[in-house]
Assembly symmetry: C2
Homo-oligomer: 291 residues x 2
């Protein structure tokens, strides 16, 4: 069965799915996106992702290409056509094609692209041993709260991390505080057992998985604090973890080559992941899949 | 005669020219570009543009899609097929299509797109009356020296300028110094007749037109200084101007609504433009075209 993508009103074979060379997404990074994790057929945090998409479009004055309720239908149809129980559903909206000019076209025809890729998520080793991160300067623009496709610095950072043998790069602001990972939010657990993550602002992307975890923590009475933390504090923490739609929550056991805590995944990282999945009403796809 | 674009080895009707939805240029802004002005069939500053393209690709570790000498041939062929005496030749290279992942693909197949658009350049009024700019905070990333397609902040800035009735937005760093325009370099002429523009660094894109003008100024004995200037100094300057491949050099006669000098184009702005065009061996396309 060929993989199917949705592009501007049509369901097409993924391999043949294309956009015009003057799409502003291709020439100006003038677009936004969301990644929705599908676990056992459930679209995780769908409301949160659509709310953020709405906000991103508004911040950039990009019109909706279809009505939100139509988008929801298309999302489901793409999952269905790809017969994907466990998958990453990718939604991208750009300001669409227009003769090349920095200023916005007067009457934009926004582009909507939706793809779906089956996934077995991280290997179980990422949960059992945790992952390594490196720290690197945050060189991004000042509106990181908008989930735009202007992702070149994040791609460069991730590549730097991978080349250093790490799974993720934690970006650090000029004052030495961690902002977030290249494609995830960053967390620590203090020696007092306090879960800590940076508050939402223009400095970070307010992760949907992050928001759900904070809501769950409130519900379950887990102590947390939204504040910035330094690299030094992270190195000295009891635990560290990262969250994103695609990875859910993974223990971070090494930062810049140094072990965090005893160098093994800690109890709160595990609990955060379980809590998130239980809230979504699904089993852990990594363990369940027996990867 | 239909407009023709070049995409990855093929000359195709512009209207049908496309790239894959998982091209990294579309999903990650992972690519670079150049705009070469064609005046009366001459590719202006071709060497400079190719040198900067080489540098941009190297900084991002994007391999050449074709050999540089082949690129030169294709550039000419695109101009020829579009029968464009006066045109903007646009060259974009991305890391190419790959299954979506922040890190670089192991074996990239870079994408090469070249388009050509006939132009009559700015209306003569821009030369006769000058253009207006507004100032706005520079919110871009920290590697503005790379001519990447990660242009969302510049597009937002230009749109803001246009909505304010201006032609360009001059971006200002946190210390109050002008970095550059959204798609041009910024210059002033002091009351002592000194031409001033910000030195090349990671804070600005080192314009090819800018470089040629500085070389011409040296040759012709025009006093210039490469240093940052504040908005206050610009408002108090004798003249202001902007340069880019597409606009060549235009007098800036209003900044944030305030007239510069006597509010009319000054002599040095005019001389800079004439000097640049004479150096390229071409007549002014705006005046020559009788627009």
């Amino acid at each position: 069965m060929p993989r199917i993508a949705y592009v501007n009103g049509r369901y097409v074979p993924h391999v043949a799915a294309s956009v015009h060379i003057e799409d502003r997404g291709f020439q100006f990074a003038d677009g936004v996106y969301e990644v929705v994790t599908v676990i056992a057929g459930t679209l995780m945090d769908e409301e949160g992702h659509l709310a953020r998409l709405t906000r991103s479009l508004k911040e950039l004055s990009i019109p909706w290409p279809v009505k939100p309720r139509t988008l929801r239908m298309i999302m489901r149809e793409v999952v269905r056509r790809n017969r994907s129980a466990n998958a990453l559903l990718y939604i991208q909206i750009t300001r669409g094609p227009a003769p090349r000019d920095f200023k916005f076209p007067a009457e934009p025809t926004p582009t909507l692209v939706i793809t779906c890729r089956r996934t077995s998520f991280q290997p179980a080793s990422a949960l059992e041993k945790g992952v390594a991160v490196i720290t690197l300067p945050d060189i991004r623009w000042q509106r990181r709260d908008i989930k735009s496709i202007s992702l070149l610095p994040q791609a460069l950072g991730k590549q730097q991390a991978v080349q250093a043998g790490a799974f993720e790069g934690w970006q650090v602001d000029p004052d030495g505080f961690v902002t977030e990972g290249c494609s995830s939010n960053a967390w620590i657990v203090t020696k007092q057992g306090m879960l800590v993550t940076r508050p939402a602002s223009h400095a970070i992307l307010n992760g949907i998985t992050r928001q759900t975890i904070l809501a769950c923590a409130t519900q379950e009475g887990i102590a947390f604090e939204e504040r910035a933390f330094t690299v030094a504090e992270a190195l000295d923490a009891a635990e560290a973890l990262m969250t994103s739609a695609g990875t859910i929550a993974l223990p971070v056991t090494r930062i810049d080559g140094q072990p965090i805590g005893d160098g093994r995944p800690g109890p709160l990282a595990k609990r955060v992941r379980e809590m998130y999945l239980a809230h979504g009403g699904v089993a852990d796809p990594v363990r369940a899949g027996g990867v």
